[in-house]
Structure formats: structure tokens, C-alpha cells
């Protein structure tokens, strides 16, 4: 008897299980059918169509709006890009003018050997004459000439030595100048010019060479201690 009872119970369990599954399935189907378009009334379908249509135009409007924003951002980007290029170019130009970056280019070298009885004023004149002749960058023994550069003679016992920015200058003194080599050379060597005078008066004959490319080192940045920009225009 207990065996039969167990068998009945098992059967019942299976039947109920199947019934449960069927019910669940039915419920799902019901739901699917209810939400499917085919189950809708014509009036509702029309409403849905209108709804979808309205949504579509909203979405398209939004897309247009976003695309417009993106486009104006991108074109502003192009402007900024140009602005950056312009800024970087100007920064480079001013750094070059201030001697803050190493530079290269065609130019000349003027070399004085230890026998030259040079004075600081001769060197000052020479640098000035190179600027007059269109030099774009100058160095004296690898001291880049900047707005602050000065040349001063110092005495050391019986002898005199030259200093650039307070640093002793050793012979041979090589002055490098970037610019048009011919113009630079002529600016120094014309009759009655600076080298002509040094030659005839003091027998100083520096060696002048023209170069396709010379390199001139950078000078360190010097910050202002006393001066500050003024709003007042002149």
C-alpha cells in the first residue's frame, strides 16, 4: 500500500508540474499577444503611429542640434589651432631675439688671436657694427649676445683681460654672427670701417670666414627685478 501511495504522489507531482508550466506559458503568450501590435485596436494603432512620428521628428531635431554644436565646436577648434600656431611662432621669434634658444644659419666668424692688443671698446664696436650690418644673432666665444650682454676689461696684475657678462674671455676670441655672410663681411671690412681702422691703427688683423652654417648657443633667461610692464603708453 505505501508503495501505491508513493506512486500516486509522484504522478500527482508530475501532473501539477506540467499544469504549472502550461499556465506560465499561457500567461507569457497572453502578455505577448496583448502587447503585440496585432492585438491593438485600429484607433490605438493610429495613436501609436502619431506618437512614433512625433518622436521621430523630435529625435531628428535633437540630432540636428547636436550636429550643429559639434560643427561649431570643430570650427572653433580650427580657429584655436590657428591661434596656437601663431602663438608658437611668435614665441619662437621672441625667444630667438632674446637669445633663449640655440640657433643656426649662414654667417661669419671673426677670430682674434692672442697677439691682438684688443680693447673692450673694440669688441663693443665690433658687435655694434655687426648689428648695423644686419646680424640676426651673435655670440662671443659661445656667450650669446642678449639685451643684457656687456663687455668690460679687467686688470689682472700687469695684464688686461676681457670679460663678457663678467666672465673671462680666453683667446682665441671667436665672434660668430648669423646673417647674410657677404653683407656681414662687407660691413666690417669696408675702407674706413672698423677692421680697416684696427688694422691701420693697431695692426690687428682678425681672421674673417664666411660660413654656410654656424651654430650659436642659447643664453639663460634673466628675470626682471626692478622693471615691470607699464600700462602707460608712450
Amino acid at each position: 500500500m505505501p508503495r501505491l501511495k508513493a506512486w500516486t504522489q509522484a504522478c500527482l507531482t508530475i501532473v501539477l508540474l506540467i499544469l504549472g508550466i502550461l499556465l506560465a506559458l499561457q500567461f507569457r503568450t497572453q502578455r505577448l499577444l496583448a502587447s503585440s501590435l496585432e492585438a491593438q485596436k485600429t484607433g490605438d494603432l493610429v495613436a501609436m503611429w502619431k506618437n512614433s512620428n512625433a518622436k521621430r521628428s523630435q529625435l531628428i531635431q535633437e540630432i540636428n542640434e547636436l550636429e550643429g554644436q559639434l560643427q561649431s565646436l570643430t570650427s572653433a577648434w580650427g580657429e584655436s589651432d590657428k591661434a596656437q600656431t601663431a602663438l608658437e611662432k611668435e614665441i619662437l621669434r621672441l625667444k630667438t631675439a632674446l637669445g633663449l634658444i640655440p640657433v643656426k644659419g649662414p654667417g661669419i666668424t671673426v677670430t682674434f688671436t692672442g697677439e691682438s692688443p684688443l680693447l673692450d671698446t673694440d669688441l663693443i664696436d665690433l658687435i655694434n657694427e655687426l648689428w648695423v650690418s644686419g646680424a640676426e644673432a651673435i655670440a662671443i666665444n659661445d656667450h650669446r649676445v642678449t639685451p643684457a650682454t656687456f663687455i668690460v676689461d679687467k686688470e689682472e696684475g700687469p695684464s688686461i683681460y676681457h670679460t663678457v657678462n663678467g666672465q673671462k674671455l680666453l683667446y682665441p676670441i671667436v665672434i660668430k654672427a648669423i646673417g647674410d655672410p657677404d653683407t656681414l663681411e662687407k660691413g666690417l671690412t669696408f675702407t674706413g670701417g672698423i677692421l680697416d681702422n684696427l688694422n691701420t691703427l693697431y695692426n690687428i688683423r682678425p681672421d674673417i670666414k664666411k660660413h654656410q652654417e654656424i651654430k650659436i648657443p642659447a643664453a639663460p633667461l634673466v628675470n626682471l627685478k626692478y622693471g615691470r610692464p607699464s600700462k602707460e603708453s608712450f
Binding site: A39, L45, W49, E62, L66, I91, L94, I216, G227, R228
Partner: protein, 221 residues
């Protein structure tokens, strides 16, 4: 249950006449889904663009700041600060006296201020730490030249007329000492040129108005 399903389907079949409409709705819904995806993508792209643009603008304003500082150092802005003003003029009185007393040996060259006087005084000012210098209205930059053509002095290739006023910004005491001890100033004083030096707590230098030629110069690495 099977029967119920059948009934439902039958009911659905009644709507067959709406098939066209349903098709339109389906297409619309499909399209809208696509549009929504496009919007999501656009928003994302917009956000990315805005972000990188913002960081780009930081870069840009950094560059602008750097340029502004360089402009000050390069003499492209008026500069103000303490300093000294040196005034030099031709020795007209001396010239007149010499002309009448010894016309045979009179040399007008000995009574005018020369380009070299200015050039060496400027060098002395730089040696004393001058941060900015101007002669009359010409601000000196790295490539400024001081020369004469005939009896006219040119600075930055601009003609200047006496009296020459050299203004320098820096430590006034140090600048004054350097100039009073400079060979050039001592020489001019001894030759009775009307030269004058005043310290000032605030002087203003004009901005440099010329160019920075660099046709031949390239950065080298």
C-alpha cells in the same frame, strides 16, 4: 488552454486590415531606435570634443602667458621701475669759445656727442645690471645699433637729435655709481659737456617699435 490561445489568435487576425499601419509603425520604431543610437553617439562625441577643447584652451592660455612674459623681456611693452636718467648735450658753449679764441685749431667734432659716447655708456649701464634702456624715444633691444651718419646719431636706424636722454631701469645707486665711474662720463665731464645724471624712483621706457629680423636664423637643436 489551447482553445484560449486559438481564440486570441483569431482575435488578432481581425486586425489584419491594420497590417499596413502596423508595418509603418514597426518601420518608424526601428528608425527611431537608430536615431536614438545616433544621438547617444553624438553626445559622446560632443563631450569628448568639449573636454579636449577645454584642455586645449588651457594650453593656449599657457602659451599666451608665456608670450606676454617674453614680450616684456623683449622690450615690446613699456617698462617702468626705478633707475637713472643721463642727459648729454653737445658742448655748444665750448664750441663757441674755441671758435673765437682759436679758430685755426677749432674742430667741431670735439664739441658734439658721438655715437660711441652713447654706445659705451649703454655698455656701462648693462654692466651695472640695467634691465631696460632707452635713448630718447628708442628702446634698446638685443639687435639695437647705435651709429652716426655724418653728425647725426641713429639708434634703431632712427635719427636722434641732441640733447640725448638715456634712461635705464635698475638699481639706481648701482647704475649711478657705474656711470659716475665710467671713462666715458668722466671724459665728457672733463671736456665740459653739459652732462647730467639723476636718479628716479620711477621712470618709464617706451616699447620697442621695430622688427626682429630672422630670415637667416633657424632654431638649432
Amino acid at each position: 488552454m489551447a482553445w484560449q490561445l486559438r481564440a486570441q489568435l483569431a482575435n488578432a487576425a481581425q486586425n489584419k486590415k491594420d497590417a499596413g499601419l502596423i508595418e509603418v509603425i514597426r518601420t518608424l520604431e526601428e528608425e527611431n531606435k537608430g536615431l536614438e543610437e545616433k544621438i547617444v553617439a553624438l553626445r559622446q562625441k560632443l563631450e569628448e570634443t568639449q573636454k579636449s577643447q577645454a584642455s586645449f584652451e588651457t594650453t593656449l592660455s599657457g602659451l599666451q602667458k608665456q608670450l606676454d612674459e617674453l614680450k616684456i623681456l623683449a622690450g615690446l611693452t613699456p617698462l617702468t621701475g626705478p633707475g637713472i636718467i643721463i642727459t648729454l648735450d653737445d658742448n655748444k658753449a665750448g664750441a663757441e669759445a674755441a671758435k673765437t679764441s682759436s679758430p685755426a685749431t677749432y674742430n667741431p667734432e670735439n664739441y658734439i656727442i658721438h655715437d660711441k659716447n652713447l654706445l659705451y655708456l649703454v655698455n656701462a649701464l648693462k654692466a651695472a645690471g640695467a634691465e631696460g634702456i632707452a635713448i630718447n624715444d628708442q628702446r634698446l633691444v638685443t639687435s639695437s645699433d647705435i651709429r652716426c651718419v655724418g653728425t647725426v646719431i641713429l639708434v634703431n636706424s632712427t635719427r636722434l637729435a641732441p640733447p640725448y636722454e638715456i634712461k635705464a631701469i635698475g638699481d639706481p645707486e648701482k647704475l649711478e655709481r657705474a656711470i659716475l665711474n665710467s671713462e666715458e662720463f668722466i671724459y665728457l665731464k672733463s671736456r665740459e659737456f653739459p652732462v647730467k645724471l639723476v636718479k628716479s624712483p620711477q621712470i618709464i621706457l617706451p616699447a620697442y617699435k621695430g622688427g626682429f629680423p630672422s630670415q637667416h636664423t633657424k632654431p638649432s637643436t
